[in-house]
């Protein structure tokens, strides 16, 4: 943490986006997380992504639960909406928010504890609803806020700071999400913004539930030798399967991708994600292929990163429930509440 706020002075040639804002306009308060925390890098990547997507700050809803990770929304886009909910209950609160106003862009920031322990049930059901949101798990394999116990994502054999190794099987959010039917599944690393920023942009623009599992080392409790979520370990076993480039709707795809290696997928708003596959045979639109590939890589001890699965066909919660396009929050009260007479007519049908 820092004692002085980040000075307002900027580089005089700072670029501006379509709204005339600079990246600095998308900043939040100064982080009070430990210096060097991976979460802060993710915050920086988020700022860059929403800046580049020209998102008006007031059209953003930042949602979180409890934990180090869940402090993150305080550190980006101060001028937006936000809700800091009960531990593990961010998916439900976001569901409510989205049900009331589907115009906002929802970014939920959670951690391995908030999502895979106390919030596991909520996590499964928000996937089931295919809620239109970007769901980020800042995954460090440790309960940092309570001083370093193994979390549900700690790998077998990963050592705690004081020495003992973890024996319990981890829950892998990515394979879990594939199994549960999520429609956008990616993994990134806080130490690689070049890969991370397009993944976040894709996750924001994807219509439906987008899961981003981001390895985010805990410098204080899980960055030592023997840890499998340290900067050094992640870099050593880091494996880019697929790089994904996010292309906004208006832009042409400039074809400098290697033949056979590139594969564009169009999103609902006309923007595109171009996959650049390291493994030519990998098919990111096949759930079965993604699942088996992931299982093999876990066995090999590799940390697979990139956009692993995408499905643009399944509708989101509103499509599935057939709700109106207009956000409920913007429908006038008279229209939203049809009155006593209409209500009794409806009730008549059930008599």
């Amino acid at each position: 943490m820092s004692f002085i706020p980040k000075p307002k002075v900027t580089h005089p040639k700072l670029p501006r986006n379509a709204l005339g804002l600079t990246e600095r306009d998308y900043e939040g308060g100064v982080s009070t997380l430990c210096a060097g925390c991976g979460h802060d890098s993710i915050t920086a990547a988020l700022i860059q992504a929403v800046f580049e997507l020209d998102i008006p700050p007031h059209m953003l809803g930042k949602m979180s639960g409890i934990g180090c990770s869940s402090k993150t929304p305080a550190y980006f886009v101060s001028q937006s909406h936000g809700f800091n909910s009960v531990h593990g209950r961010m998916p439900s609160v976001t569901t409510g928010a989205n049900a009331a106003n589907n115009e906002l862009i929802y970014i939920g920031v959670s951690g391995d504890g908030d999502s895979l322990s106390i919030g596991m049930g909520q996590f499964a059901h928000v996937i089931r609803r295919n809620l239109n949101m970007c769901y980020i798990i800042e995954n460090n394999g440790v309960y940092g806020l309570t001083k370093g116990q193994y979390s549900a994502s700690a790998d077998v054999g990963s050592k705690a700071k004081k020495g003992p190794a973890n024996r319990q099987m981890p829950i892998d959010p990515v394979s879990t999400a594939i199994g549960l039917g999520a429609t956008y599944i990616a993994r990134g690393f806080s130490g690689d913004k070049k890969q991370l920023v397009p993944l976040i942009k894709g996750a924001i623009m994807h219509k439906g539930f987008a899961l981003l599992d981001i390895i985010s080392p805990c410098v204080t409790f899980n960055d030592h030798e023997g840890s499998t979520k340290s900067y050094a370990h992640t870099r050593q076993f880091y494996h880019h399967v697929i790089d994904a480039d996010f292309i906004p709707p208006a832009e042409e795809i400039v074809a400098d991708y290697e033949e056979g290696g590139a594969m564009p997928v169009e999103l609902h708003d006309g923007s595109k994600i171009v996959f650049r596959k390291v493994d030519k045979h990998y098919d990111p639109t096949s759930r079965a292929a993604a699942f088996s590939f992931l299982r093999d890589s876990i066995r090999a001890g590799e940390i697979i990163t990139g956009l692993l699965y995408i499905d643009e066909e399944t509708g989101d919660m509103h499509d599935l429930s057939g709700s109106v396009d207009r956000p409920l929050a913007k429908i006038p009260y008279e229209e939203l509440n049809p009155g006593r007479e209409t209500l009794s007519k409806v009730m008549q049908r059930y008599r």
Binding site: M1, S2, F3, I4, K6, P7, K8, V9, T10, H11, P12, K13, L14, R24, C34, A35, G36, C37, G38, D40, S41, T43, A44, S190, G191, K193, P217, V219, D223, Y231, A232, R235
Partner: protein, 603 residues
């Protein structure tokens, strides 16, 4: 790129742009910090070590430091470095106890200094404490050279001059006023002196040979001579309408002096348009504040006389073209005009003149009739004769003269001691951490967004009553407190230790001015283009680290816009970044004389 070698003092010295730009390498950030702490005497003494005349320079320095100031790159205006120097001088206590004292017995070596200006006085300042017997010959009736004769009293009061020159003379210099040296040969032949230093300035104002010049002589004045006559009160009046020819700093002094001697319509005639003037922006501002009109694109053609008396001057009206690189052409004449006037002052430059140096005594002169002087040793082609200030390389300014004086003093000491003049002590650099604890630094690291303070001036109605009224009042305490906080502490260096870095990006994310990047190494011009923000100032070197342990990439810092807020070091979990104070060690004659002293300073 190769990793930056920070063991060479020049690398970090260059980051302190003000100090690098100052010919005498004044430790600007440190003296500003001392002022911030209310340690005015300490700030004064630190200044004096390098620039010798803080009170004088705090008023009239040409301030090469300010255009260089990094603050001017992140916002409009640089720190008011020069006027803060005056704050140190204005608020200092009696510092005479702290001045170096000459030893009880001299070393018996005699040095002649010709001219009692800033260059000679600097040599005296450096040599007297070493035991030299110094004699200063001055042609005029008072000391100070151009500082006294060419800078009007309303900018530089005589009291300030007397005090700071007094510090030096009181160390035991023998001063011979009204003693013009007419023959260098005679002085050298006398064998009285072990070495001779020439600090006679560039005393000849340029002449403008146009029709009517001779006939109008009574009302046409050479700027620097006229200012000198005003300084010594030989001239006390001037006509109501005055034209100043030329638009350099001397012209600014001439026009403002005229206003105090009875003129009420003063025009400064410039041949070229704005942006091509020689005068410093701030001197132009001060003149225009006094309602001096600056007339551009007028090239003088002839003096107009009626009944043998000057009544006006004819000018050709010019038009210029400026190309895309900002260069101006020679111009074309598009008209002609005559302006009425009572007096004309010529301020179109000055030249060196050495009628008193014989050409057959082994001193080689170049094509401009100036002595050939070595830029390192300040010695001319005759051994034992040294030059400094304007007399060495033509008109520059006071701070250059001081810098020359320091170098010449080292050379004179070495020459007299029979040492090799070129075997000089190099610059040194000390680095020490400013870390006091968690997120605590021994300097004020927060960025203060305040704008530059404006110098308060004496009211326009008041100031013309007397030529002795100093126009600038000096910063008030409140102004000084605000202005010191604008300094970006460029001497607090960001020092990087590659082997500690875990590449967490924390420093990059927090940097307010995007000056850090972790990336693959590459050739410099290519690397400059792909940093967090392109590094476009080619004058400022990139700080490139050794390979980082985890990915073999490199940390690159573009020093150009760094505000030295220390947040990179605060956010660094491993202490790979540290904020370290750099202190440049500049050797003076005393260090050459006693290497032990230098070691003591290096601490």
């Amino acid at each position: 790129m190769k990793p930056t070698d920070v063991s060479k003092p020049d690398y970090f010295h260059k980051v302190v742009d003000c100090q690098w730009a100052c010919p005498a390498h004044t430790d600007v950030p440190e003296y500003i910090r001392l002022i911030a702490q209310g340690r005015f005497s300490d700030a004064y003494m630190l200044n004096r070590e390098s620039n010798v005349f803080p009170g004088i320079l705090g008023r009239v320095c040409d301030r090469p430091c300010e255009p260089a100031c990094r603050r001017g790159r992140v916002e409009d205006k640089p720190v008011a470095i020069c006027r803060l120097k005056r704050v140190a001088a204005d608020h200092r206590d009696d510092i005479r106890e702290r001045l170096p004292r000459p030893p009880a017995r001299t070393n018996g070596k005699k040095i002649a200094l010709i001219g009692a200006g800033c260059a000679s006085l600097t040599v005296a300042n450096d040599l007297l404490p070493l035991g030299y017997e110094v004699t200063i010959f001055e042609a005029l009736k008072d000391t100070g050279g151009l500082m006294r004769t060419n800078i009007p009293r309303f900018r530089l009061p005589p009291k300030v001059l007397d005090e700071e020159i007094g510090y030096i003379l009181d160390m035991g210099a023998e001063l011979k006023l009204n003693h013009r040296i007419d023959s260098l040969k005679a002085l050298l032949d006398s064998g009285e002196f072990d070495a001779v230093f020439v600090g006679t300035g560039a005393p000849r104002g340029k002449e403008l040979d146009l029709p009517g010049r001779q006939e109008a002589d009574a009302n046409v004045h050479i700027g620097i001579d006229w200012l000198e006559s005003v300084a010594f009160e030989h001239i006390e009046r001037i006509g109501e309408k005055v034209l100043i020819i030329g638009v350099g700093n001397t012209a600014m002094d001439c026009c403002r002096t005229s206003l105090r001697l009875g003129a009420n319509d003063v025009k400064v005639m410039a041949r070229k348009p704005r942006g091509f003037f020689k005068a410093s922006d701030w001197e132009l501002e001060d003149a225009e504040e006094e309602n001096v009109e600056i007339v551009v694109n007028h090239s003088p053609k002839a003096f107009v006389l009626e009944d043998g008396k000057l009544v006006g001057m004819t000018f050709e009206v010019m038009e210029y073209k400026v190309d895309e690189r900002g260069r101006i052409d020679r111009g074309t004449v598009v008209g002609e005009t005559t302006l009425p006037c009572d007096d004309v002052i010529l301020a179109i430059g000055q030249e060196n003149a050495f009628p008193w140096i014989e050409r057959d005594i082994g001193i080689e002169f170049n094509e401009w009739d100036c002595p050939v002087v070595d830029e390192t040793t300040m010695m001319c082609t005759r051994e034992g004769v040294f030059f400094g200030g304007d007399s060495a390389f033509g008109p520059k300014n006071i701070i250059w003269a001081v810098a020359h004086g320091h170098e010449a003093a080292i050379s004179i000491h070495k020459y007299v001691s029979g040492e090799d003049l070129r075997d000089r002590l190099p610059h040194g650099m000390n680095l020490s951490t400013t870390k006091m604890g968690m997120h605590e630094w021994s300097y004020s690291n927060n960025y203060d967004p305040s704008e530059r303070r404006l110098m308060p001036h004496v009211d326009l109605r008041e100031r013309f009553k007397n030529i002795d009224i100093e126009v600038e009042l000096g910063f008030t305490a409140d102004q000084a407190i605000q202005e010191v906080e604008r300094c970006l502490n460029c001497d607090i260096q960001t020092v990087f230790e590659a082997k500690l870095c875990i590449e967490c990006d924390a420093c990059i994310d927090i940097c307010p001015v995007d000056c850090l990047t972790i990336t693959a190494n590459g050739p410099e011009d290519e690397l400059r283009g792909r940093l967090s923000a392109p590094a476009e100032n080619l004058e400022q070197a990139l700080y490139v680290s050794e390979e980082l342990p985890q990915t073999q990439r490199v940390m690159v810092k573009d020093e150009d816009l760094c505000v030295h807020c220390g947040l990179c070091a605060e956010r660094c979990p491993t202490g790979a970044w540290d904020m370290q104070k750099s202190r440049l060690l500049i050797p003076y004659a005393a260090d050459e004389a006693e290497p032990e002293r230098r070691r003591a300073r290096a601490g």
